[in-house]
């Protein structure tokens, strides 16, 4: 058995941005409550007016789990991920903030290891990494693996970020640290995650990693897309000259 979490003085605000995640949000809320027994936390759902009725499900969940544990902080239209985090952060009452996707690629069973690692090391940021032993990815084709590896080698060679997984977005932040770095991040999509961690590392915040596994989304569809490789290269260049 692992040692129980000693987190009595800490509160964790879990920000989950959603867009058309009707089924996934219900599943993830259940799993968060299952894996964080005895921890003081709140879930902040930032929904961007999903047409599939995600918000109705969130309201039903509030009836089951309580409106103080699940906060619905919706926005009228799809305004993007970066601002969704900022919006959620404004309503966070915890001293730590977790950011995770709703699509079950980020499994809540890893939350205890994030929390444990943080209290052991007193780090400012704990980031989930897929590229160490104990971590992994399921459901990617060869092309996706290739671009992921290529992107990683490029970033490691040119940016020296000090973390092994730059584009993952399953992370725990000290709230003040997140507030500090999020305001200077301007990128979109994957690059946003990379910018956050690179800026944090340049500012000298203490970053630690825990292994996570990543199962590609099972339900619903992807909202990112477009010329991702071009965007990535632009982002890399941008980070080279601004950090």
């Amino acid at each position: 058995m692992e040692a129980p979490l000693n987190t009595s003085k800490n509160k964790y605000s879990i920000i989950v941005p959603t867009y058309n995640e009707r089924l996934n949000i219900a599943l993830i809320v259940y799993l968060i409550f299952k894996h964080l027994r005895g921890v003081d936390f709140e879930i902040i759902v930032v929904d961007d007016g999903s047409p599939d009725g995600t918000q109705d499900i969130v309201k039903q969940l509030q009836k089951v789990y309580g409106e103080d544990r699940i906060l619905l902080r919706a926005r009228p239209s799809k305004l993007g991920l970066g601002t969704a985090y900022i919006h959620g952060l404004k309503h966070a009452s915890g001293n730590f903030v977790v950011i995770m996707d709703a699509d079950l690629s980020h499994h809540p069973k890893y939350l205890p290891s994030f929390i444990r690692k943080q209290s052991e090391t007193d780090a400012d940021i704990i980031t989930g990494t897929r590229y160490v032993t104990g971590g992994g990815v399921h459901g990617w084709n060869l092309m996706r693996k290739l671009t992921s590896r290529g992107a990683n080698v490029l970033a490691q060679t040119f940016l020296w970020p000090g973390v092994s997984d730059l584009t993952g977005s399953f992370r725990l932040y000290r709230k003040s640290v997140l507030e500090d770095i999020i305001s200077c991040c301007v990128s979109k999509g994957y690059v946003f995650q990379m910018e956050m961690i690179v800026r944090a590392s340049r500012k000298g915040y203490k970053i630690k990693e825990v292994p996570i596994t990543f199962v590609d989304r099972v339900y619903g569809s992807s909202k990112l897309g477009g010329s991702e490789i071009v965007e990535y290269l632009k982002g890399l260049a941008y980070l080279l000259v601004t950090t």
Binding site: R22, L23, A26, L27, Y30, L31, D52, D56, I57, Q60, L61, K63, V64, L104, H107, R130, Y131, V132, T133, G135, G136, V137, H138, G139, L142, K145, L146, R149, G150, N152, V153, L154, T157, F158, L159, W160, R202, T213, F214, V215, V218, Y219, L239, L240, V241, T242, T243
Partner: protein
């Protein structure tokens, strides 16, 4: 210091070393002239090698997908009993 400056400084230091080598001619000249080419080529090879190794050792977790399926069944069961709509969607 911006990161690009760090990299530039590193490149400059390497070029200075190279020019030094050219002038003192410790190595045969023709050989020294080719050094930057070797440098670039080996950097490229290193990159390709890293990508290749990374691809071959890409960590996968097929069992996680199965575990997730079990979690989904469990969650649906629980939520359905409490009146949350987790019907087919």
């Amino acid at each position: 210091m911006k990161h690009i400056v760090k990299i530039m400084t590193l490149l400059m230091a390497i070029s200075a070393l190279w020019i030094g080598l050219l002038q003192t001619s410790i190595l045969p000249r023709s050989y020294t002239w080719l050094l930057p080419v070797y440098f670039v080529v080996s950097l490229g090879c290193y990159g390709l090698l890293m990508v290749g190794v990374g691809l071959m050792q890409f960590p996968t977790c097929p069992q996680e997908a199965l575990l997730l399926q079990q979690d989904v069944v469990e969650a649906k069961e629980y939520l359905k009993q409490r009146g949350v709509d987790v019907g087919s969607s």
